[in-house]
Amino acid sequence: MRTLVLDNQAVQALREEHHPKHRQVLAHLAGIVGRRRRGREVSAVVPTSVRVEAGWDRTQPEAAAINRLRVVDHTLDAASANVAAAIADELAVSVADAHVGAVIRSLLHDVVVVLTSDPDAITRVAGGRPVRPVRI
């Protein structure tokens, strides 16, 4: 199974139609749909801390379009918070970046792809776990 994780920049690009990377992120989601049609298991997730940083409130009317794309929440539950806290302490990164790291470390059996503006940061928060950062 493959999981596509969106970081702050990817969410911003998806939310804003005039964002220069909007079409690029849509291409990634369109690719996921095509793969699913071929029977592959692919999901798209957003860490809830990333949603906070990006200002994505699912209850707001302006979020309706992005909500429909079924990018599902990865919540910062107790276990994820512990992992994220350790990452934030060790690497002095933001809560959102630490949460991305926790997501990567939790998906032990998935191929994890992260759409990001900072591939190096993603590699660091992954802590040695296999991850494929894709720059947008």
Partner: protein, 137 residues
């Protein structure tokens, strides 16, 4: 109900707590039911025919609703529709394929594939581009 409202309602239902079950009046071909039972029992494809059916139905719905949402977005904003080559480029990046560094090859491959197969998808483009690269290596 307007299409976007339908999508929102499907998403709401898909995201809702699914603990409550219902016996449906959905009619399945008997042979399909029996094939599913055998697959569960002997191939281990799922814990039960119910979970096999529910999982397959959920996946189909999630794919359909995402595709419909994208299509609705592209109808409103036609200039935002990514080209076939752009989708192939995105998948190449997700796959970690060297083709991700050669958008011009994917542009050419997409044009060649679509010329013969108008319904080709991005994976068809990737396969053709990889084959072309192998032939010319």
């Amino acid at each position: 109900m307007a299409e976007l409202q339908v999508l929102d309602e499907i998403n709401r239902l898909l995201d809702a707590d699914g603990d409550t079950t219902v016996n449906t009046s959905m009619r399945l071909p008997e042979t399909l039911r029996d094939a599913a039972a055998l697959a569960v029992q002997h191939l281990g494809v799922a814990g039960s025919t119910t979970s096999l059916t529910a999982t397959a139905l959920r996946r189909a719905l999630e794919t359909a609703v995402t595709e419909a949402a994208l299509e609705a977005h592209f109808e409103q904003h036609p200039h935002m529709r990514p080209s076939l080559a752009a989708v192939a480029l995105a998948l190449a990046a997700q796959d970690g394929s060297p083709l991700a560094d050669h958008p011009e090859l994917l542009e050419r491959a997409a044009a060649q594939v679509v010329a013969r197969h108008p319904d080709a998808d991005a994976d068809d483009v990737l396969l053709w581009a990889e084959a072309q690269a192998a032939v010319h290596a």
